[in-house]
């Protein structure tokens, strides 16, 4: 990819990050750090890799993206609105009565959302089903599932991991947002999933690790899919929960907490937000 193309994606990620912060502050509550953690991953997927646009909704040949860690949905909302899957004016209704944009994504309300997620360990096997359907019908679409590292504590993740390898679902790519934190603390101090890459390899996946905030590494990994014919692909994206807001980075207490006005001012400065109002 050219330097200009990379710069475009980097700028896009910064804009999405600003958008997330504004949407959640305006809505009065949400998972800010988990949403900030996946920004570059979504930007690499939606602006470079996936063949989906607002015009391909419902197209049987479209790629499928499933946000298995549904609580990061504001990041997805910001991207989908930017790509005109729905009108940007909806962003200022987030979390309010009558909105289509809730604290977890609803596939029946939001154009472009492929699965209603929220409870963890569901989107990944759902995505494996979509990938299996593609294989059965000899279709070329690809399925990408983004899940959390804490989500890997759910047993269904490993049921689906075995299943996908058994059925040679090389049209399936899972990405783990490996920010090392869950709601209450670090995974290391609660129930560790380490060594994560070794676990997935042992389950029959081809694994690559990337810096989850490095657009170049992400797009390069996605361009190399499937990593190996006949194997499902895993991208472990090493990320920072709360990326971009210094006092939220790597701090468990921010999992679901709203900043005070003073804290908002600091965050706005760091994210280069001039005005918290959402542009329409």
């Amino acid at each position: 990819m050219s330097e200009t193309a990379i710069d475009f994606l980097i700028d896009k990620a910064e804009a999405i990050r600003r958008s997330i912060f504004k949407i959640i502050c305006d809505g009065g509550g949400g998972h800010i750090p988990a949403s900030l953690s996946i920004v570059e991953i979504l930007v690499a997927l939606y602006y470079k890799y996936l063949n989906i646009t607002s015009k391909t909704i419902g197209d049987p040949d479209r790629d499928r993206f499933i946000l298995s860690k549904g609580h990061s949905c504001v990041s997805l909302y910001a991207v989908l609105a930017d790509l005109a899957f729905f009108d940007k004016s909806a962003l200022s209704t987030f979390g309010k009565s009558g909105t289509i944009l809730g604290g977890h994504p609803d596939m029946h309300k939001i154009p472009g959302v492929e699965a209603s997620t929220g409870a963890l360990g569901h989107g990944f096997p759902f995505g494996a089903g979509a990938a299996l359907a593609g294989k059965l019908d000899s279709k070329n679409y690809r399925v990408v599932v983004l899940m959390g590292d804490g989500e890997c504590q759910e047993g269904t993740v490993w049921e689906a991991a075995m299943f996908a390898a058994q059925h040679k679902l090389d049209n399936l790519c899972a990405i783990i947002d490996y920010n090392q934190f869950q709601a209450m603390d670090t995974l290391q101090s609660i129930v560790s999933v380490s060594p994560l890459a070794d676990k997935w390899q042992a389950f029959g996946w081809h694994v690559r690790e990337v810096d989850g905030h490095n657009i170049w590494q992400l797009t390069e990994a996605l361009a190399a899919l499937p990593f190996q014919q006949g194997l499902p692909s895993m991208i472990i994206a090493n990320t920072i929960k709360g990326k971009g807001v210094s006092f939220m980075e790597n701090s468990a207490i921010w999992h679901y907490r709203m900043p005070t006005e003073a804290e908002m001012r600091v965050a706005c400065e760091e994210l280069k937000i001039e005005e918290l109002k959402i542009e329409e």
């Binding site: 049987p60 499928r64 596939m107 029946h108 492929e114 699965a115 209603s116 929220g118 409870a119 569901h122 990944f124 096997p125 759902f126 995505g127 494996a128 089903g129 979509a130 990938a131 299996l132 359907a133 593609g134 059965l136 019908d137 047993g155 269904t156 049921e159 689906a160 075995m162 299943f163």
Partner: protein
């Protein structure tokens, strides 16, 4: 019932390529014909019911019509959240087929009994709940399930269930079936216990008590009309189910009666908030749990004799 289901599925698969047979390490020999004819459309998930249901939802999201089959207690409870979130909440066209209804796996004990499955499938938004009483009805219900665009739960016994109907039986979804007419009491039954209810009916008849027997094969949506009609034109309403009396057929009938302000003598026969007791044959376990024909007769007479 199991064989009738698989025969129907085989026939359906022949005319509809979208249909898939999903199992969770269950149905070794009975699926042979299906597997031989449609090897790619038979998917064994191993012992992973939750994954089977989520994957089924993902398959349905791409236009497939999966029939996910395994032991009813595992299917409805191990995978309950998957059924609620991935199938019902997302309105996916997934059919859930549970075998081993009630305590037909008598000797295997309560882990393998399905005695609250109707209670937990009924409240799920968009879910249709079928409980066939014999092979022919199982076959017709399987075909009906394929016609429904949305989540369906079918509760099956295993092999060897007696046939209740003549071959000209016409199934109509959501409509109860009067198997025997009578004006003294209305006995509502569902599933494989219906054979026992028919025996009870004959014994009551011999004692001069003319009960009507109504088979409720569709638990949701339930046939309100036939319940109201039975209550208004007989002296008592009895429900019989190989299932907990909390949340299943008995509760569904009680809801209809109460909401229509119908006063009648009323008795629910089934497991009253307990696991099925004991081991042995299916008949042994029925007797140990108050669900033999004799128990049904005694309870019916007791209810009629109430002041």
């Amino acid at each position: 019932m199991r064989n009738a289901y698989i025969d129907a599925l085989y026939e359906l698969a022949g005319s509809d390529e979208r249909i898939l047979a999903l199992v969770a390490d269950n149905g070794a020999i009975v699926y042979d014909k299906f597997r031989a004819a449609y090897p790619a459309r038979f998917i064994n998930f191993g012992i992973a019911e939750a994954n089977m249901v989520s994957v089924a939802a993902g398959l349905a999201s791409c236009g497939k019509v999966p029939f996910a089959y395994t032991i009813a207690s595992f299917l409805t409870m191990r995978a309950f959240e998957q059924i609620r979130n991935d199938v019902c909440m997302q309105r996916m066209n997934v059919k859930l087929v549970g075998i081993g209804s009630g305590f037909v796996y008598s000797n295997l004990g309560p882990t393998h009994h399905a005695t609250i499955d109707m209670s937990i499938m009924r409240p799920l938004p968009g879910m249709t709940v079928f409980s066939p009483c014999g092979p022919l009805e199982s076959k017709k219900i399987t075909k009906e399930a394929a016609r429904i665009d949305g989540p369906v739960y079918i509760r099956l016994s295993v092999g060897g269930s007696p046939e209740i109907y003549e071959s000209d039986y016409e199934f109509e979804m959501g409509r109860g079936v009067t198997l025997r007419d009578g004006g003294d009491a209305a006995i509502f039954t569902t599933g494989s216990i219906t054979a026992e209810v028919m025996k009870a009916h004959a014994e009551l008849q011999a004692r001069g008590i003319h009960a009507r027997v109504i088979n409720i094969h569709t638990i949701k949506p339930i046939d309100e009309e036939i319940i109201i009609e039975g209550a208004e034109n007989t002296g008592a309403v009895i429900t019989v189910e190989e299932h907990s009396i909390i949340g299943g057929l008995g509760s569904a009938v009680a809801e209809v009666l109460a909401e229509h302000g119908i006063r009648t003598k009323f008795k629910r026969i089934g497991l009253n908030g307990v696991f099925a007791e004991g081991y042995g044959t299916y008949d042994d376990v029925k007797a140990l749990n108050g669900l033999s024909a004799g128990d049904i007769v005694r309870e019916t007479v007791g209810c009629l004799n109430r002041k």
